[in-house]
């Protein structure tokens, strides 16, 4: 048991520590690559260069701060508002709303960014068309910096939403009720009780949203190049993409990466404190309550309108813009005449007939599946060992380390992995391979680690001890009690990481070659006007739609398969022969709905049980 824990720990250590170490070394050893190059030597030249270009440095820092900070705040406000409406108010259609809000989650970020680009096009963009219908002379400039900030917010809003909903759901409503009974109005209660209580949790969400925003390349890449604002993610990317006749500036890029690692480390410390406070507060309040519901009254219409506008901006218009782009040969504004005369559906056929599409789809599945498996297995084994073991300084350090990947922005991870594979290439030639992508994608291991850790804590120790006193060896106890109880969590996390993997663009943007690129990168090549031969905006849009549909189907298909397994288990159980009295079922009763209900109930109860 200890041996496997150590192995799992080492895997995670290799995944996280080596790339970061290589990046730091590259920053201090250059000028090109730290090893395997005869000219390489230790120096602080890269930081000197950074300082010499300090105007550029401050500009990037400033625009990154505005871009990431601004979009974090906007998406947090939107997410909080939406979460509040779905969880804590009596708004009509709450169920529908809560489904609509997470639609953008399944749309890969690169697809979203592309859709916004299409929908904001000054001439042909559907949003500007809609705005022209309204009074006033509103036109959104897609390359204005403020537009970029808003788009980044809209692209990332689902993530904080999904994290805020449970925070709001688990809040003890009686605390607010007692404030109300003490004579506080709703706004006063919100300000004096609710927000202070939620504050640590929300701070944690803020930090994670910030790091997510800092790390994503999609919007800066598609919008930033034209807007003239250099965002950190884009900066890193351009530094290592060698422009004609020059060597890529790895050392300088690594120095940039180090600066931002310091920033995210600070953010991570804030996050750790926030989550600790949040847990402390959660343990004060009791359980078995239900949050009180705020009556909207006359506010219903404006709230619904706001939700509608949100859905319009995050789901309806982007998908429409993609669809329109897919059925028109070149960018034209929507009109019924154009619909009648100019549209065709050949782009979909082209995509489906393109062998490279299928090849990159296959690679996407292999990479996402492989990395999710590595991360889940290693993280769960380690989490079990740490959560069950004695708490020492060492295990605390390992715990912190295994949780730290949330603090690494994807661009830095992508860049650090890129450097690492370059450096080890003479010994282990992995650079540019699918294996390299699998390893790189696995860096998000902390997601699985945290879930595995809390899932282990929820399995009370007595459940294992009961197996031992019943005569089971420790291994039997682990196999028959712990594994089945951990499995639902591991599956759920696996699916989550798998979907993240299929959506991933930032990491392969740094790492993939045309031979190993996943679908997201191939699609980007098709919509990027700079990639001469491949450029085909209609096929690109069609591919984006098919891609989204596939992610949706695979994600939900997997969830469905998992519930089928649960149902199968329930069915097998009820089929244990010779088990006393059982209500006899009519022979041609359709068994499915009943067993399905049993399985669902079982899962519910299992959750409840685990909660206790």
């Amino acid at each position: 048991m200890t041996v496997t824990t150590v192995i799992a720990g080492s895997v995670i250590f290799l995944l996280l520590a080596i790339p970061l170490a290589v990046q730091v070394i590259t920053a201090f050893r250059g000028p090109f690559l730290p090893f395997g190059v005869s000219s390489a030597k230790w120096s602080v030249d890269n930081f000197v260069t950074l300082w010499e270009l300090r105007e550029d440095f401050w500009a990037v820092l400033g625009s990154t701060a505005v871009f990431v900070g601004g979009s974090t705040i906007i998406s947090l406000l939107m997410a909080f508002g939406l979460a509040w409406v779905t969880v804590r108010t009596d708004a009509p259609f709450r169920r529908v709303i809560s489904v609509l809000v997470i639609v953008p989650f399944i749309v890969p970020p690169i697809v979203k960014a592309q859709a916004y680009l299409l929908m904001l096009s000054p001439e042909s963009g559907v949003l500007n068309q809609v705005l022209r219908l309204l009074p006033g002379d509103l036109v959104v400039d897609p390359y204005a910096f403020s537009t970029m900030v808003v788009i980044q917010s809209l692209t990332n809003v689902t993530f904080p939403y999904l994290m805020i909903v449970p925070i709001l759901t688990s809040m003890d409503g009686s605390l607010e009720e007692s404030a109300r009974v003490s004579g506080a109005s709703w706004p006063q209660t919100l300000r004096r009780v609710t927000l202070p209580m939620l504050w640590p949790g929300l701070l944690g969400v803020t930090v994670l949203t910030f790091i997510l925003g800092l790390g994503s390349l999609e919007v800066p890449l598609l919008f930033g190049q034209e807007s003239g604002k250099d965002i950190f993610a884009l900066k890193l990317w351009t530094l290592i993409s060698a422009s004609a006749g020059e060597l890529p500036q790895y050392g300088l890029a690594a120095a940039w990466g180090c600066v931002f690692l310091v920033i995210t480390t600070i953010a991570f410390v804030i996050y750790l404190r926030a989550t600790r406070d949040a847990e402390r507060r959660a343990s004060i309040s009791g359980k078995g309550f239900r949050p009180t519901v705020m009556k909207l009254g006359g506010w219903k219409p404006p709230v619904l309108l706001a939700v509608f506008v949100f859905t319009l901006l995050t789901a309806i218009l982007p998908l429409f813009a993609l669809f329109w782009s897919a059925i028109t040969p070149y960018p034209i504004a929507f009109s019924f005449e154009a619909l009648a005369t100019q549209t065709h559906f050949t782009a979909f056929g082209e995509v489906l007939g393109d062998p490279e599409f299928w090849a990159s789809l296959g690679r996407t599945l292999v990479i996402a599946g492989g990395s999710a498996t590595i991360a889940c297995v290693a993280a769960t084994v380690l989490a079990y060992g740490i959560a069950r073991g004695r708490r020492t300084v060492w295990t605390k350090a390992v715990d912190l380390f295994a949780s730290s990947s949330v603090a690494i922005p994807a661009v830095i991870a992508g860049f650090a992995m890129f450097l690492t594979f370059m450096v080890i290439n003479p010994v282990i030639p992995l650079a540019g391979t699918i294996a390299a992508l699998v390893i790189a994608y696995s860096y998000r291991v902390s997601i699985a680690y945290r879930s595995g850790y809390s899932a282990t804590l929820q399995i009370r120790k007595e459940l294992e001890e009961a197996a031992l006193v019943s005569g089971a060896s420790p291994l039997e106890g682990f196999r028959k009690v712990v594994v089945p109880l951990l499995m639902p969590t591991v599956f759920a996390v696996w699916i989550q990481m798998f979907i993240l993997g299929t959506n991933e663009f930032t990491l392969p943007a740094f790492l993939a070659t045309p031979e190993s690129r996943p679908l997201s990168v191939y699609m980007y090549a098709m919509i990027n006007p700079r990639s001469a031969q491949l450029y085909a905006p209609d096929a690109g849009a069609a591919m984006a739609l098919i891609f989204t549909l596939l992610v949706f189907l695979i994600g939900y298909g997997l969830q469905w398969a998992v519930s089928l397994v649960a149902i199968g288990r329930a069915r097998r159980r009820s089929a244990i022969p010779g088990l006393g009295a059982r209500p006899a079922a009519a022979p041609n009763d359709p068994p499915a709905p009943a067993t399905r209900a049993v399985a669902a109930q079982e899962l519910e109860e299992q959750k409840e049980f685990a909660d206790r």
Partner: protein, 374 residues
């Protein structure tokens, strides 16, 4: 079936256990010794945190003791240095929170001990035995249900069935009734006791509830701060507590400070208490002039409207009358002339209870008290 169970003889001798905390080793069990005869029911009774669970877990093998010997029949379960793992000990255990496996059915929970290495049986036999165990606790009709679909009491019975399924020589129970409501607790108490007697299994039962311990056990070991302070039958424990802690912990008690003054016959003394002389039995090793504590259970304090012509009758005034249903509790101030010299609590039948504020006489029967040194 009944014959196949039967119990083992458990001997715990000088058990020591300490936990390593940040500040060093904290002793929790400090030399605990007791013996349980085959087929008897022994309770470990003590306040919360005194080390009962730890003792039980050492017997089960879930904790490794730091010293002392534990043997079951001829088998050495653990010495200070060598420990048989729990799956090799052939014991059954019911946990305080039941520890029912939520991902299994009722049947799967019960059959588990018969499927794993410790007690593996052929499939058919295992199934029959598990069903037998479920029948014992009347859960056979629920066998196919998910274990989480059971109520608290049913889960408790399932935990019992699981602990009995492999017919262990020793059954360990850690406050199994503490999570049930009062009514169910009483029923389960009886069921548990009669089941244990029917199967003839040796049982070690941990509880902090004195009425549970007294009503179910053949023997009770009272624990305090990691030590056993008295081991006795329930009756002996109640009427002959070894010290003030036991007297106080096992039921309600009046403790009257007194001084031994006179020998008044065979094994009797007169003590000075409440400003007067009371006749009491003479405890061993007590000399004239010693401080003692005279203890009376409330139901041994009788009240009268007029003074009967017997020893140990004191005038008193009623200050509180509390109706508890089947009995009434009366608190009185003992008087010497007009001054109050102490208070007593008495219990008796509600029908002839005195009125609050009235003057009465209380009788302290010399045969119903216990005199403790100190």
């Amino acid at each position: 079936m009944t014959a196949a169970h039967g119990g083992g003889r458990l001997v715990v001798d000088g058990l020591e256990k300490q936990y390593e905390l940040d500040g060093g080793a904290v002793p929790v069990v400090k030399g605990v010794s007791f013996t349980i005869e085959p087929g008897t029911f022994t309770s470990l009774l003590g306040p919360s945190g005194c080390g009962k669970t730890t003792t039980l877990r050492c017997v089960a093998g879930l904790e490794t003791s730091n010293g002392g010997r534990i043997t079951l029949d001829d088998q050495v379960l653990s010495t200070g240095t060598e420990h048989l793992p729990p799956d090799k000990r052939d014991v059954g255990m019911v946990f305080q929170n039941y520890a029912i496996w939520p991902h299994m059915t009722v049947f799967a929970n019960a059959v588990f001990p018969l499927q794993v290495s410790g007690g593996k049986l052929p499939k058919k036999e295992a199934r029959a035995r598990a069903m037998e165990a479920l029948e014992l606790v009347q859960l056979d009709a629920y066998a196919h249900r998910p274990a989480t679909a059971l109520s608290g009491g049913q889960q408790q019975r399932l935990a019992l069935a699981r602990a009995l399924a492999h017919r262990p020589r020793l059954l360990l129970l850690d406050e199994p009734l503490s999570n049930l409501d009062a009514k169910l607790r009483d029923t389960m108490r009886n069921e548990l006791r009669s089941l244990q007697q029917r199967l003839g299994i040796t049982a070690l039962y941990v509880t902090h509830d004195q009425s549970e311990a007294l009503s179910m056990s053949d023997r009770v070991a009272v624990m305090n701060q990691g030590r056993i302070v008295q081991e006795a039958s329930p009756r002996e424990l109640y009427y002959q507590p070894a010290d003030r802690f036991v007297a106080d912990f096992v039921g309600r008690v009046n403790m009257i400070p007194a001084v031994v003054r006179e020998r008044s016959g065979a094994g009797e003394v007169l003590v000075e208490a409440f400003g007067t002389r009371l006749a009491t039995p003479c405890p061993d090793g007590v000399a004239l002039g010693d401080d003692v504590t005279v203890t009376y259970r409330p139901e041994s304090v009788r009240w009268h409207e007029t003074a009967p012509d017997r020893p140990n009758v004191l005038p008193a005034r009623v200050v509180r009358v509390e109706f508890l249903g089947e009995i009434v509790e009366v608190e009185v101030e003992v008087l010497a002339g007009a001054t109050v010299v102490g208070t007593l609590v008495a219990r008796g039948a509600p029908l002839d209870s005195p009125a609050s504020g009235s003057s009465i006489f209380v009788e302290l029967d010399p045969n119903a008290c216990r005199v403790l040194a100190g």
